[in-house]
Amino acid sequence: MTTLAPTPSSSPAPQEGATAVVARHVAVVSRKAVVASGVLTLLLALLVALAPHAGLARFRFSSETDLFRIPSVAVPGQTVAWVCVVLAVLVTAGMALLVRAGRRVPVVLSALLAVLLVVGFLAWAGAGSDRDFPVVRLVGGSVLLAVPIVFGALGGVLGERAGVVNIAIEAQLLAGAFTAAVVGSLTDSPWAGLLAAVLAGALVALVLGLFTITYKVDQVIVGVVLNVLVIGLTSFLYSQVLVPSADRLNSTTRFPPVAVPLLSEVPVLGPALFRQSVVVYLMYLAVPAVWFALYRTRWGLRLRAVGEHPKAADTVGIKVQRTRYVAVLVAGGIVGLGGAFYTVVSVSSFGKEMTAGAGFIALAAVIFGKWDPVRAALAALLFGAASNLEGALSIVGAPVPSQFMLMLPYVVTVLAVAGLVGRSRGPAASGQPYVKE
């Protein structure tokens, strides 16, 4: 006899269940990192081989005012470049062996490769120049260029962790920069500008939240459109209002650099990292603060729960929409802070579209940093360094067209999202509105 019983109405995904019960495992490792490393190493090798440079490359490590002076180093550029290429080949081969043996490639190896490639490139580019690379300025400049990207990436991490993809980082940076310029000029206080920028970033976030959380519009679309909207608004107001009365509305007092006692005397890193303005120090604080909030507090636990499985969070009494709103608003404020950097630290006036795509790079840093605040900040620093190379090379008069150096951070981003990230997994519910029927 055979019985007919209705079947479960559910449609679970048994694949994942299966991984939990099976006994046997074989290692699976992504080859992407090896491929990307190989490509980059090959590019450097081609550069060094096809356009050899004779002469010494000089690196300067300290400035006149330092307590501890480190002598400048001069190395034969072409030789050092080749050494770096060989070492990079070895590192790549090591990665390949690890992958073949079914092991994961440690982050250290990737970082080592990046350092080798950068040093090799600088040695090649600086060879034969009569100027030397100011290493302090290289590092310090990288940090400075990275500031808005770091703040943007922190905001992006918070938003996505709560399930809201924030393509509008660019808009929030721009709104922050604009507001900081206007309020900073009117009050003649950079602090007021900073505060206003936080509010402006949060305001853009509020619009983002309204459309994505309340009205459940596609998050990517809203983000893209918000960018256009804020670019349009700030440019309109800039031409219509700021330009006619630039003295009153668009000339801020900037934050002065403040040297941190002791720390600023550390060779190389001290002057680069600890003779900065207050916004940079806020950045140093913001990264661990966001990390702590996300992983160690009730707020962060709930925020991540809402981004991973909103329904589950709802069933334990967490208000999903409110949690997402708060996360998005806090994130917007943080990004706005980064926007203020443009007009109360970097320069003292607002200019049309002055953020120039930093928000998009921050977005890439979020992904590259695997939705982790610390890693995302490090990724942002990498992009800052890539942007800074152009300036560094123009100092020594390197033979690389400046356009290619300007292109570098964007190429790095493409390589990062396509190659190096590997099998990264974002918050499961990121991008999905929570529909409670």
């Binding site: 006899m1 449609s11 048994p14 699976v28 707020w299 334990v316 009494g317 499961a428």
Partner: protein
Amino acid sequence: MKLELRGITKRFGALVANDHIDLRVEPGEIHCLLGENGAGKSTLMNVLYGLYTADEGEILLDDEVQRFTGPGDAMAAGIGMVHQHFMLIPVFTVAENVMLGHEETKAAGRLDLDAARRRVREIADRFGFHVDPDALVEDLPVGVQQRVEIIKALSRDARVLVFDEPTAVLTPQETDELMAVMRRLKEGGAAIVFITHKLREVREVADRITVVRRGRIVGEASPTSTDAELAALMVGRAVELTVPKEAPRPTASALEVRGLEVTDPTGAVVVDDVSFTVRGGEVLVVAGVQGNGQTELAEALVGLQPASGGSVTLDGTELLGRSVRQVLDAGVGIVPEDRTHDGLVGAFTVAENLVLDRTDGPPFARAGQLQLGLRDRFAAEKVEEFDIRTQGIDTPVGRLSGGNQQKVVLARELSRDLRLLVASQPTRGVDVGSIEFIHRRIVETRDAGVPVVVVSTELDEAVALGDRILVMYRGRVVGVVPATTPRDVLGLMMAGIPQTEGASA
């Protein structure tokens, strides 16, 4: 704590999901809510749990009327729920999942994970669960995940516990253990609501049975009722309990699978050295508890998952390594497990879905252009033939009911010249009328001399439909047995104990 529902009515648009439902559950009682899929059981429990707001009626706990604006209120009032789809965050640890929503904190707002760990251990010890508070939920077997759900509910001192279809993902042995846990909770004075559509479980554990059909309570039954009585009450008419079919007449055609191995992206071997043969004119049912590699097996057969080893030959032609397109062209019909996700494009019309895998060439496409007239005639024909209840062939398929959606998939696949049919969970989430229809069509396909592979987690379906049953456990074949094999033996096989041992045990 005593639970009482009075006149609960919940409407979605014009559909009345719950129509004046009254229910009383005493402390120390297991009250079974029995009903078909779509009968409104889960809706009712979501109302009870504060996820939905009832349009009419009230909820009483110990004779006090409750107002729930969200699950938080329900939990605070002492209602706990073990959800059908576990409400656990996969990337959180057990302790984090248990503490979520009522976290204790230390100085500077830091989470007190130690307190949560202690709470997990304490409850786990009380029930003899072995659960590591620091394990990531996604790494745990399904049965253990369910225990985490139970711990979660108990950690908030729930006095009313709702189990929503808890056995769907469990082996018979795990089901038995769950029953034991439920009895223990009952003895501890909890009021338990057990939602299911599985008749045997009901009779085994229930103190009282309430049967729900089409949103209404249609009657109470006693645990001593027979399967047929309960089924008739549940479905509303005498149910055709058997699939009428003749003895198989094997043909020369055959699907041969040898040493098939599938590895998932994380490196787990999910199909491990699987070999079997299906002859034309025969239905082989791949049975097993959900998540033991059946899905991956079916997907590997049709080229949806790359196999890491072995061979699959259909009438001597190797299928492995081919694209899905080539597999389809070789005459393989695919009924995927999750029709809304893999089988249909919800926004496409019925007609478009009926030719979804046939637009690469004649007759439905010529010179890169779709032949719409032909397609529409074909669609009208199939709607008629398969009794697809739709307003028209231009209706988006997403608006059809589950059973009619499945008929669209089946109509599409069976209307091609098949040399093999692979159907995964062909009747999941389908109403009883459609189940009978779908089973009949599958048997007809068999009788036309086509080898048929059906993947089913429902033992009843396996026994009804199959000529032989292949039982999988942890990616391996436990055994291939005739469909006449006793249920208890099949049950043990699903827990990984081969037939011989099972028989001697």
